[in-house]
């Protein structure tokens, strides 16, 4: 803290800590908020207070919602026999946006990464095994990133799931994206697409 560190400086520092914002952008936003108290600052304060007070993690899947279990877990029109495992809430939103999946989710809270010191105990693996154990689930979909960390997490989960249940385990396909032209794709994507080619 500096000698003249007042509420404005604290606000700027808090904003600058957000992704995508540096000190200059943070200062600009702080000044904009203060010059538009009624239109911007007060609604923002209200929204932040409401969010902090009411939004919590779903005790079943780990999603964010005002109620727990969350709306997705309570939705009786969705299948309870399929669980899609995603690393974070952003990934859940991406799958949900497609509208193509009508099952349950489980949010791991990251992927295994020796470099970042994220081990199995740091992820929501124990609660996943508890959910899958009773035999009420037919299929577990591993919707994890096509990165080394994402795929090693997928293999680790496969091992753990196979230890406790004989549930069907699937993963998302890797390969050519829709609209992708082969000569613009990177070598890794083409290699993976060739390895997981399908019979027509």
């Amino acid at each position: 803290m500096t000698r003249h560190d007042g509420p404005l400086d604290q606000l700027i520092r808090a904003l600058a800590a957000l992704p995508g914002l540096g000190p200059r952008s943070a200062r600009r936003i702080a000044l904009l908020l203060l010059t538009n108290r009624e239109k911007l600052l007060n609604p923002l304060i209200h929204a932040l207070e409401q969010t902090a007070e009411h939004i919590r993690n779903c005790e079943t899947c780990g999603n964010l919602d005002m109620i727990t279990p969350c709306r997705i877990c309570r939705d009786t029109t969705r299948s309870y026999r399929t669980i899609c495992i995603v690393s974070g809430i952003a990934d859940l939103c991406a799958v949900e946006r497609t509208g193509a999946y009508k099952g349950q989710y489980h949010i791991l809270g990251g992927v295994l990464s020796a470099l970042d010191g994220i081990g199995p105990d740091d992820l929501r693996i124990a609660s996943l095994l508890e959910r899958v154990r009773p035999g009420d689930v037919d299929e577990v979909i591993l919707a994890l990133s096509a990165t080394v960390d994402g795929q090693s997490t997928a293999h680790y989960l496969t091992d753990k799931l196979q230890d406790v249940t004989d549930v069907k385990i699937t993963r998302l396909a890797h390969g050519v994206p829709v609209g992708g032209q082969l000569d613009y794709l990177d070598d890794g994507t083409i290699v993976t697409a060739l390895k997981s080619r399908a019979v027509l």
């Binding site: 992704p19 995508g20 020796a114 470099l115 970042d116 081990g119 096509a146 990165t147 080394v148 795929q151 090693s152 293999h155 680790y156 496969t158 091992d159 890797h174 990177d186 070598d187 890794g188 994507t189 290699v191 993976t192 390895k195 997981s196």
Partner: protein, 269 residues
């Protein structure tokens, strides 16, 4: 003006390297660690290292051509040019054991090798290991590569003759203290304390099975843990431990399936 030309002189080099690790830094950058051909394990900053374009290239195991530069040689510096030479990782992602080998080898290099010390032999060894992944003997190649890593780090094993003066044609064990092979007869009284020597490392070369490869992985794992990483508070890298565990599980499952199959055959017979 000579002081100016001296101060503006940049340390620069070009080389090829295998990606060992990528650590995200700030919002878009990353610190990349490579095992290079001429400059050993070398780190550098990559501007935009977390971008979607770079993420696919900067996966452990990929071979890249790089240009590195820094104002002073001791600085972290930055990789100013990165071009992909060979994409190894994508082909291994679907196979848990091969992906495990890739991660184990890269994490061992990243954790055990001193920085900026040339290890061209290890670079070519790692390249050969990654290229051997389509070969059915990839497990043997991995054990041989770990033995080479131990040797390079000054903890080489002597597996050609018996430490106890026994018959070097009948080697069966390795002493955990000296790292030397021990013959079957000389080692018999200390059987419980010695490490088994896999068939493919014996002078008379036996059959290569998954069980023998597991013996090799456990043998090198013991010396990595008790020699190389004994002073390291983080211990042996998590990826190496996980690979050994997964391989042991795989061998165990194979044995169980073989046993069930033979029981079925007996019942049919």
């Amino acid at each position: 003006m000579s002081w100016l030309s001296h101060n503006t002189h940049m340390e620069e080099w070009r080389d090829q390297g295998i990606v060992l690790a990528v650590r995200p830094h700030a919002e878009n950058g990353a610190v990349l660690s490579l095992l290079t051909e001429e400059h050993g394990r070398h780190a550098g900053y990559v501007h935009g290292g977390q971008s979607s374009k770079m993420r696919g290239i900067l996966e452990p195991g990929n071979l890249v051509s790089v240009a590195w530069g820094a104002r002073i040689a001791d600085n972290l510096g930055a990789f100013t040019m990165i071009e992909q030479e060979r994409h190894v990782t994508a082909g291994l992602m679907g196979d848990p054991l091969k992906l495990g080998v890739l991660l184990a080898a890269c994490s061992l290099c990243d954790a055990a090798l001193p920085e900026r010390e040339g290890h061209a032999g290890l670079f070519y060894g790692l390249l050969a290991l990654l290229e051997s992944m389509d070969n059915e003997l990839w497990g043997v190649v991995y054990v041989m590569w770990e033995l080479a890593l131990l040797r390079e780090l000054g903890f080489g094993l002597e597996l050609s003759k018996c430490a106890g003066g026994g018959d070097s044609e009948r080697l069966a064990w390795v002493s955990p203290k000296s790292g030397q092979a021990v013959s079957e007869e000389a080692g018999a009284p200390y059987k419980g304390k010695l490490l088994p020597l896999p068939n493919f490392l014996k002078s008379q070369k036996g059959e290569v099975t998954d069980q023998e490869i597991l013996k090799g992985v456990e043998l090198t794992g013991y010396f990595l843990k008790h020699r190389v990483f004994i002073q390291d508070s983080r211990g042996i890298p998590e990826d190496r431990l996980r690979f050994e565990e997964r391989f042991a599980k795989y061998v165990d499952r194979q044995e169980r399936e073989d046993l069930e199959e033979s029981i079925k055959q007996d019942v049919k017979g």
